[in-house]
């Protein structure tokens, strides 16, 4: 069982890595977008597992993007270094902010993180010299010089890295800490869990992921612009993907990103106008009829079969 499972994972990885060889440029760009949102979706879910609903995803995504572009444009660093800097800055900012706002809970935390993205945007819009202000900033040395195959492989690497981090969190003591915090904070702290420490740790790790993916995304086009870099798109779509795929797991957001990513592209092709309506309907239907998401439904069905087999 274990061997077949690792075999399947290896096969999937090889298939994903070989994708650019068998497809054309259009599909590679679709795949890059799906991977971007997949990473955001996993990172959002990782924070949700602590019981904290974060709306800061787009904020750290945009912050990472701006850091990457500024590092390359003004300080002349290599785009790959720019990506690392994007992650580090997002991590640093989230550490400072987390120390302040992770004392809040529930709606208060959610609404504060939502405000963060707007605050970042306003600040960046007004730092004209550094960020280009409202008109955005362009850089001519892009990631791998517009070589989308290489960008795809880098994105794939970042996504696999995120999946690994998420799974490590699910299999170590971190899992027990954040699951007990989500279930009951009083019980958690009475049994020795340092709630504050774990919340900050997870918040910083997920923000670093969001910053890295944000700067990678921005540097592949060599372009940032306040309204698009901090767009609610990068917040709402990952959430929808996690809900469709199934929250509190790694596989859920992965499935959700593939399902919604592919269907949105397909819908765009068959009906250029109004495809978003169908897209919305898909999300509503899945959330209504599969409250645990697609992965949750699969688990329920296989669990049910297993139990029936045991009863026989």
């Amino acid at each position: 069982m274990k061997i077949t499972k690792s075999l399947v994972i290896i096969m999937l990885l090889i298939a994903a890595a070989l994708l650019p060889v068998v497809t054309e440029a259009y599909f590679i760009s679709v795949a890059i977008t799906i991977l971007t949102f997949m990473t955001l979706s996993i990172s959002w879910d990782m924070m949700l597992r602590t019981g904290q609903l974060s709306f800061g995803t787009a904020g750290f995504f945009g912050l990472g993007g701006y850091t990457g572009i500024i590092a390359v444009a003004d300080f002349g660093v290599d785009p790959l270094v720019g990506i690392i800097l994007g992650g580090l800055l997002a991590g640093g900012v989230s550490l400072l902010l987390g120390m302040a706002i992770l004392r809040l809970r529930g709606l208060y935390f959610a609404i504060t993180t939502m405000a963060l993205a707007s605050v970042f945007m306003v600040i960046i819009r007004n730092l004209n010299k550094l960020t280009g202000g409202p008109s955005g900033k362009i850089v001519y040395t892009t990631l791998f010089n517009y070589d989308s195959v290489k960008v795809y492989w880098l994105m794939l690497g970042i996504t696999v890295g995120t999946i690994v981090v998420s799974e490590v969190f699910q299999r170590t003591r971190v899992h027990f800490a954040i699951d007990s915090i989500r279930a009951d904070e009083t019980v958690a702290k009475s049994h020795g869990v340092n709630i504050y420490k774990y919340l900050i740790f997870v918040f910083v790790v997920t923000s670093i992921i969001q910053g890295v993916i944000g700067s990678t995304y921005a540097l592949q086009y060599g372009f940032v612009y306040p309204e698009s870099s901090f767009s609610a798109h990068y917040l709402l779509l990952p959430i929808a993907m996690a809900l469709v795929g199934g929250i509190y797991s790694t596989i859920g957001p992965v499935l959700g990103a593939i399902i919604l990513g592919l269907s949105s592209e397909y819908l765009k092709l068959i009906m250029p106008y109004g495809h978003l309506i169908i897209y919305g309907v898909i999300i509503v239907v899945v959330v209504l009829f599969l409250p645990n998401g697609v992965y949750g439904a699969i688990k329920d069905v296989t669990g049910f079969r297993k139990r029936r087999l045991e009863e026989r």
């Binding site: 003591r173 027990f176 699951d179 007990s180 279930a183 019980v187 009475s190 020795g192 509190y248």
Partner: protein, 238 residues
Amino acid sequence: MSILKLDKVTKRFGGLVAVDNVSMEIQQGEILGLIGPNGAGKTTLTNLISGVHMVSEGKIIFDGIDITFLPAHKRCNLGIARTFQIARPLKNLTVVENIMVGGLFGNGEKLKESKKSALMLCETIGLEEPDQTLDKITVLDIKKIEIARAMATKPKILFLDEVMSGLNMDETREMIDTVRKIRGTGVTICIIEHVMSVIREITERVIVLDRGTILAEGPYSEVSQQHNVITAYLGEDA
């Protein structure tokens, strides 16, 4: 030798004084009963000692260390464990995982160690299906999880907040045996209970609380005869 000392502890919730200038000591190795009518401040006292609430005034000394301002998780690491009056199992974890939380964070164990010690606790306390999820579990098993999870932190003192309530006679018997077994391992126990037969049977000393103050202190047989204690429970005309 006293393991825990409360010095003039007061807790106010707004205008309500839940615990009023209470000073008491718990001796190493004893089973102490904490009794009193509803609203007397027993659970609040437990919350103050375990760090769920902070005191408004006064000092708490545990094992020679002033823990008055320590957060709950540090008190747990020092050796204070408790169960909750309304049992609070972690519903997203299985039976054994619930107990592992105590070992992992209360006693600093590694994942494998904590699984091993949690499984051992399951066996001692009589939880037969460690891998069960919590959606179809009995009240008795939930109470056992509470105790096992607290025991997994390897405490020096254990507060049991109404673990017998809602159990039938056989289950109560089993629970009393469990409490005795725990005490046998050298853990000091403070038990809050409304079932007086239990208090009579297993405690060596009781403290009676009423409206946030200590009303009486001593062996149950003596305290239960005192006029003011009877009045507190049954009212003036009793």
